[in-house]
Subunit: 412 residues, 2 copies
């Protein structure tokens, strides 16, 4: 069943906030088996809201509306709905009671202006707001059911969970499940070629790719009549994709590269130390985002100057002189020195040119050497990262963590 | 002049990401003097995109479209625009060259499928993408000018700034200039009281506050007929605000706290070293985002384990035993040890509890001690950071950098 979301608020039009309500509602609606066909966001102007409602009733069977239900004159949603539905606004006794009770709990008398919030289009269903003064309402118009909720995220979420969700569950006849596989090390185009058959329109489950900051996510969406069938189809397609993409898949759903590395360190019972130059702390920062990482991650060193590489990691000054700070030799010496100096089982290093200055023809901005040292010896890889200084740092950190991940996987 | 934003991507419809592109673009468009009338977001289905384009050309003179320009079959934007404009897709030589060059820099041959991204509707203007393989394009249809950009935020932003912004500036008849002053260390309510007069509705230039991740930004917006007047009014209001807020203003516009610290280090001719525990590399990562920081920032240590604090920084094991790893004493010993061990002029340290586990009644999650050591001695401050593990890390890193900034300012 198709649904849509309408978000009302000038703060969205001025870009002062991102529309996180639409994202949250979309996730809930997708879980409930609805297909979200469209989001619209408009400001506080009545004509814009009315046009949006008319556009949406043509494309959706269910529309969730948020925002514009406050007590001040710039909150137009109630009046626009009265005009849209051709019904007068009536004061609802349940709403008046609820507003009084809310203020009584805070020990104050509500200002008269608050009771404008108790007005609801005649014939609409009242939706109780347990944590705020703006009640919601639901009404049918032109083949679409509209659920209208306040825009304050915490109030909206409670009301969706308590009133709207249960009503929608009764309407939906599908179960939609989604699985995301995160990859690093293969281009989106090549993944598209390998998965072309599965990605064709009409394939069930649907398979799509999405790029973000150097990684590609492959998303599988199963849309079935029962949960069992949806799970089964999802799992079968996931197996097929993993067989085709192999080790470039590093994690699934909400999990990160740091988490994948932490899991492998735990599995292999290894400790880790990290020596960073060009990534400037990004590798350590990513690893320490993982709760409980302190069991495996002993320490990091941001050896930004050459002197620091020599003093901290014992990289010989003449080795840096001979090969340069950005070289396979220095990366390997950094990793070996970091491992030795603190007794970690594995050490990871990164040295490169984050830019914008400092590049040359032989060693351009974005060139990064990643080193790994463990009981079996040292090795290094040369990678190129692209973008702004910040992007190069982040992308190089991801590449380094991915190289470590692949190394740890092969040790198994 | 009215404008609109269309975001294309199934990930938006399934709620896997919030539409931050629309928010960012809205802010830019507002600054440029445009009125953003509507956002629409749709999935990858061609019919839905086409309907949205037709709806938008009725309400806007300018529409920015993002997403769906990838190289895989589920990227429909090019084809939909061909249908919408009634023009065939033609391969653009500039785009082919740009894709080849981008891959050449990475030392690989692009797969054939990548060249589908070089297709652009006949007659459309080519928009160069300096950091990715998807070029954008601009075309007129039905009284609206459409600018189409890739959905990857970093690529979209560079292209907007380089191509779209300048084109739009030429269309607008007002000069809107915005100045943002970033503050740390004063509540939004208190800033609101101090600036009440300037923040009143109707005040010109307009002054507003916005909170994000522990910092408050004061935004001044001048909307004038000429650039000279706008600049003058902006400067006068900035002076007035700085006089009222004093040292809590740490930077302006796109500049960061790391940049403010770097500038002070340069001014005072001092070198810096950083020892981090709970922030896990976030302080170093922020500092190393600043180009040229290598002249002042010698090295960082992520001494995550207690043993590492002792081995690297010479923090006595019995001091940690007595006061705990999260204490003023340990923070100061970390800073002093870091400074001593490498001969930096100033050392900054942070030790705390990032959570979610590890907190207690006396030392709750979010408690962080910041230490500073310099030639005049050592000192520490106790701060509380709130939120998730990631938020606590980032907020504690900002607080640490701000404490260092204020310390460096007082040295003058």
């Amino acid at each position: 069943m198709k649904c849509a979301i309408l978000s009302i608020g000038s703060e969205l039009m001025e870009g002062r906030i991102a529309d996180t309500n639409a994202a949250w509602l979309s996730e809930r609606l997708t879980e409930l088996g609805f297909e979200v066909a469209r989001h619209i966001a408009v400001g506080d102007r009545r004509a814009d809201i009315l046009t949006a409602l008319r556009d949406l009733e043509k494309v959706a069977s269910v529309t969730i509306v948020t925002g514009g239900l406050g007590p001040t004159p710039d909150d137009p949603t109630r009046e626009v709905f009265a005009q849209f539905s051709g019904c007068a606004l009536l004061e609802r006794p349940e709403a008046v009671r609820s507003i009084r009770e809310l203020f009584a709990r805070r020990g104050i008398v509500p200002p008269d202006s608050n009771f404008v919030q108790a007005l609801i289009p005649e014939g609409a269903d009242y939706l109780h707001n347990p944590t705020g003064t703006a009640p919601g309402f639901a009404l049918n118009h032109g083949g679409c059911r509209f659920f209208t909720l306040p825009g304050v995220p915490s109030e909206m979420k409670v009301m969706f969970n308590e009133s709207v969700g249960p009503a929608l569950r009764a309407l939906s006849d599908r179960v939609i499940l989604v699985r995301s596989l995160h990859t690093l090390g293969m281009s989106e185009a090549l993944i598209g070629e390998l998965l072309a058959e599965m990605m064709a329109e009409g394939h069930s489950p649907a398979v799509a790719t999405q790029a973000s900051e150097g990684m590609i996510t492959v998303r599988i969406t199963a849309d079935e009549a029962t949960e069992a069938t949806a799970r089964e189809k999802l799992a079968a397609t996931e197996r097929e994709i993993r067989a085709k993409l192999g080790e470039v898949v590093y994690a699934a759903d909400g999990l990160t590269l740091g988490w994948a590395v932490a899991e492998l360190l735990e599995k292999r019972a290894l400790t880790l130390a990290v020596a960073e130059s060009c990534t400037g702390g990004e590798i350590a920062a990513r690893l320490t985002d993982v709760p409980g990482i302190s069991r495996f991650f002993l320490e990091g060193a941001v050896t930004y100057s050459n002197a620091s590489k020599t003093a901290r990691l014992g990289v010989p000054a003449d080795l840096i002189q001979r090969h340069g700070a950005v070289s396979a030799e220095t990366a390997e010496a950094m990793a070996a020195g970091m491992r030795r100096s603190f007794g970690a089982d594995v050490a990871l290093s990164a040295t490169g040119i984050a830019g914008p200055a400092g590049g040359s023809k032989e060693k351009p901005v974005g060139l990064v050497y990643i080193g790994i040292a463990d009981a079996s010896g040292t090795r290094s890889e040369r990678v190129m990262a692209f973008g702004t200084r910040e992007q190069i740092k982040v992308r190089a950190a991801k590449r380094a963590l991915n190289i470590l991940r692949l190394h740890l996987e092969k040790m198994g």
